[in-house]
């Protein structure tokens, strides 16, 4: 088997297992549907390119998350520099309005609200939160991000509290 076909095979395996998760990450990173599609394509290309260097020293999951998050972070950074001082209209329209989680489940835009909330976070928080939402254990989040397990646990706890507060406080108001 040639190196390219090995690379293609490894990519197919990764894309098959993580395709939907990459879509969720793209949605949490980019609000505009066209740019989101570009970002998703960039993630897949970056994943394919990276597979020539995958040597199994970390798990495939850790590898895929690192490549995908690095691609997303570069995209967000580029967009932020391009749109300094601006805020996308759809972000403003979909800021969390404090509905309870149960009610939010019933709302067709609940997921958009959650994604908009994530997009407002700074980089390390955004990465930790999306990995937590994918139900990854704190130890794996620490391995992926390079933060200490303690720092990850503290962040998750703080972010969850903030998220609950933002979804609920207007209901009580």
């Amino acid at each position: 088997m040639t190196q390219t076909s090995d690379q293609d095979e490894r990519y197919r395996e990764a894309a098959g297992s993580f395709g939907p998760a990459l879509q969720r990450l793209a949605r949490a990173s980019e609000a505009d549907p066209d740019r989101r599609r570009d970002l998703l394509q960039d993630m897949h290309v970056a994943l394919w390119q990276s597979m020539s260097g995958f040597d199994g020293r970390c798990s495939l999951s850790t590898w895929v998350w690192r490549v995908a998050h690095n691609t997303a972070a570069s995209h967000v950074d580029r967009e932020r520099r391009r749109n300094t001082g601006k805020m996308a209209l759809d972000d403003i329209a979909h800021l969390p309005d404090g509905r309870s989680v149960a009610a939010a489940h019933e709302q067709s835009d609940a997921i958009d609200r959650l994604n908009a909330w994530i997009r407002r976070l700074k980089l390390p928080d955004r990465q930790v939160m999306t990995l937590y939402l994918e139900s990854l254990p704190a130890a794996e989040i620490a391995e992926i991000t390079g933060l200490s397990p303690g720092a990850v646990a503290t962040r998750i706890s703080r972010l969850k509290a903030q998220l609950s507060k933002d979804f609920q406080e207007q209901t009580h108001a």
């Binding site: 969720r24 990276s50 490549v67 997921i111 992926i144 720092a151 969850k160």
Partner: protein, 194 residues
């Protein structure tokens, strides 16, 4: 961590949008990416070739030895900048890999950008200064102009002052960018310490 966080359930309930990307599309997009980088590099070399051509033509055509020397210094400065650009391999981002933790990759990119901005005066601006001063001096003080000394000094001061102001502006903007990146690096380091 609780097993049934409602936000985790909400998150995983997202409907996947229709998305397919064939292997040939991936190969062709990767190849387009490489070709964009090649084009960017070629544009930089073409711009340098243009500067070399224009000043080489001036050095050949203008009889004034000081102006000729200024043009040659500018050509040498351009050649040095091209060499420095080539050695640095451009200032673009590295391809994301899965080898290093996110914080390491991100920090590495920030440091690379910060260092490029902070040192730009040394390898991108300074090499042009001697040639520019000699060239402008040669033009201003050429005996053929017949202008009085004061007028020549004013001419030289205005041209050199304008060029220095442009250089200083570029320097200031880059140092401001480097300082912002320094703050981002410090924030990232703080986050890693938890």
């Amino acid at each position: 961590m609780p097993d049934h966080d409602p936000f985790q359930s909400l998150w995983t309930q997202q409907t996947a949008e229709p998305f397919t990307m064939s292997m040939s599309e991936i190969h062709s997009r990767a190849s387009r990416f490489r070709s964009t980088i090649r084009t960017r590099n070629l544009t930089e070399y073409a711009a340098a070739a243009l500067v070399l051509g224009v000043f080489g033509w001036m050095a050949w055509l203008i009889p004034q030895p000081v102006v000729k020397a200024g043009a040659i210094f500018i050509m040498l400065g351009t050649a040095y900048v091209v060499h420095a650009l080539h050695r640095r391999g451009g200032t673009g981002k590295s391809l994301p890999d899965g080898m290093h933790p996110l914080a390491d990759y991100h920090r590495g990119e920030l440091v690379k950008q910060r260092d490029a901005l902070a040192s730009i005066w040394r390898w991108y601006l300074l090499p042009f200064v001697p040639g520019m001063l000699v060239f402008v001096g040669g033009v201003s003080f050429a005996p053929e102009t017949g202008l009085p000394l004061v007028a020549r000094l004013i001419q030289f001061g205005t041209a050199a002052g304008f060029a220095i102001a442009v250089f200083a502006g570029v320097y200031w903007l880059n140092m401001r960018g480097a300082k912002q990146l320094d703050a981002e690096i410090a924030a990232l380091d703080e986050a890693r310490r938890g």
